[in-house]
């Protein structure tokens, strides 16, 4: 399958890495060989609580993301349609746009402590803005001639909103969500690195502190694979949703 062929250079790098480790070109303390990492991965999987950590992380990330998606899309569309909503929220959006949301993590830790909520809110706050902005832009950018055609064919009110505006804005909304998806993992990992009792970020940190570097690398690999797979699946879903679009 051509997808596998595309990634051949990656396999070559892994192969080269393995050989370099075996020949002694790299310090295997600092850079474990791929086999050692695989070993670490197997060890983690069988030692018991890997799934717990994965579950915790995914739960937090999903919760924050879904919250951001629902509120963000509603807010963005509302801002595009209703003047007073725009007047109230646009200054706030403008003001908070340049703030790197990761700077809020210490505050969230102060407020919500070590448990789930600080992470969920970190993800939520970080992902909210890209979703709001892309929903706003997507809705605003709807071709007026599309809307007028629909109205002259009898569509009004809420139906107009749903059938025309939402569908026409969908490409941009979905691409904003894709960015939010990637961001959600970044914020999740950042907050779990900083202060947590469970989760993949916490796992990676503790493995590192314990000196189990193959395990640590394995944990990072898991995070990378989750992020990668999520993006791939999302793109498939997005393309299906937008299947009516012309291929650029």
């Amino acid at each position: 399958m051509t997808a596998v062929r595309f990634y051949i250079p990656l396999f070559l790098i892994v192969a080269f890495w393995q050989m370099a480790a075996m020949v002694g070109m790299v310090d295997v303390e600092l850079l474990p060989s791929p086999l050692a990492i695989g070993n670490g991965l197997a060890h983690l999987a069988t030692a018991g609580d890997l799934m717990l950590h994965v579950g915790v992380s995914v739960y937090r990330q999903m919760a924050g993301l879904i919250l951001a998606a629902i509120i963000g899309v509603s807010l963005g569309i509302g801002m595009a349609h209703v003047a007073w909503v725009r007047d109230v929220f646009e200054p706030i959006v403008r003001l908070t746009y340049p703030l790197p949301k990761s700077a809020l993590i210490p505050l969230l830790i102060l407020w919500f402590g070590i448990g789930h909520n600080s992470k969920i809110f970190a993800v939520f706050l970080g992902c909210l803005l890209p979703v709001v902005v892309s929903s706003f832009n997507g809705t605003r950018g709807v071709n007026t001639q599309l809307v007028w055609s629909a109205r002259s064919l009898g569509t009004r009110g809420i139906r107009l909103l749903w059938k025309i505006y939402f569908q026409a804005a969908l490409p941009e909304i979905l691409s904003g969500l894709r960015i939010a998806l990637a961001l959600s993992y970044t914020l999740l990992v950042s907050s779990e690195f900083l202060i947590a009792r469970a989760g993949l970020g916490f796992l990676i940190q503790s493995l590192g502190e314990a000196g189990d570097y193959p395990g640590m690398f394995a944990g990072i690999l898991i995070v990378a694979l989750i992020g990668f797979t999520a993006d791939r699946l999302y793109v498939k879903w997005m393309n299906w949703m937008l299947r009516w679009q012309e291929q650029a």
């Binding site: 250079p9 007073w84 605003r140």
Partner: protein, 272 residues
């Protein structure tokens, strides 16, 4: 986001609101928020540990700036951020260009870039800390790696999709294949390259701050996390203000730079 005509007539609740002048309508929410914040804090409805008053934060800010400590920390954060950004720009643009020019480079780098794109690169930080320790090197390396991917991507796309008629016109006017690249391809790709840089820029700041939080050392990130751990909430808020301030200055600065460099470009207007 400038107001534009929207196809749906904006439904307004009561004409009183719509009769207020624009700048008042747009600052009301901020003012209300700030006043509520101060009011709630003064009234003691919320534990001052969690929510210091606006006045407390400002007072603390006055102290800290006076002692020059916070300004120094801000400078450090800025230095790391900009250093990493410049490094990422130089390396990233070079790789992107190389990918457009050399088929082998493209074959090799395309899957790498594709793979790196969606993964949370901050997850690599423990590796860099393992290799380089907790000081500047690991922070700057992490930041560079985190923001380089969009730069490579945008540069590659920008240099590949040049309008063929531009190239053909240049050839008909006597440009040699050798000179074509620097005279035509690079200027034509500049808008796309700058967009890539603009996307990478905020990422640099975000990652920089997180690295500081995680690896300590002086800087705004470290300041905020220590304040949080010691329960000094007014310092935490102050840190957030300062971070927002740098963010704002840098983003506006970049936007200004882009306008100057691309005065000839037909910019699409309207979006945030």
């Amino acid at each position: 986001m400038a107001g534009t005509g929207v196809a749906a007539a904006p439904r307004q609740t009561g004409s009183l609101w719509s009769r207020l002048p624009g700048f008042i309508r747009r600052s009301v929410s901020i003012v209300v928020l700030l006043l509520t914040w101060e009011g709630v804090a003064q009234a003691g409805w919320v534990d001052p540990f969690l929510l210091p008053g606006l006045s407390d934060v400002l007072r603390r800010g006055y102290e800290e700036v006076g002692s020059a400590g916070l300004v120094y920390l801000t400078g450090l954060t800025l230095y790391r951020t900009l250093f990493a950004f410049v490094l990422a720009s130089i390396i990233g643009v070079s790789i992107g260009v190389a990918m457009s020019v050399s088929k082998t480079t493209r074959w090799f780098c395309d899957p790498l870039v594709s793979f790196m794109f969606p993964i949370p690169k901050i997850a690599l930080l423990p590796i860099f800390v393992l290799w380089f320790g907790v000081f500047d090197v690991s922070k700057i390396t992490m930041t560079t790696v985190a923001c380089i991917v969009p730069i490579i991507s945008a540069t590659h796309l920008g240099t590949r999709n040049i309008d063929k008629y531009l190239i053909w016109s240049a050839r008909a006017l006597g440009t040699s294949q050798r000179k074509m690249f620097w005279k035509i391809v690079v200027p034509a790709a500049l808008p796309a390259i700058l967009t890539g840089l603009q996307i990478a820029f905020p990422i640099t700041l975000i990652v920089s701050i997180v690295c500081e939080m995680l690896t300590g050392g002086q800087g705004l990130g470290g300041y905020m996390i220590y304040a949080a751990r010691f329960g000094e909430s007014d310092k935490v808020f102050l840190g957030i203000f300062f971070t927002a301030l740098i963010g704002y200055v840098l983003i506006e600065g970049f936007a200004w730079l882009r306008r100057r460099l691309l005065v000839w470009h037909t910019e699409t207007s309207g979006a945030v």
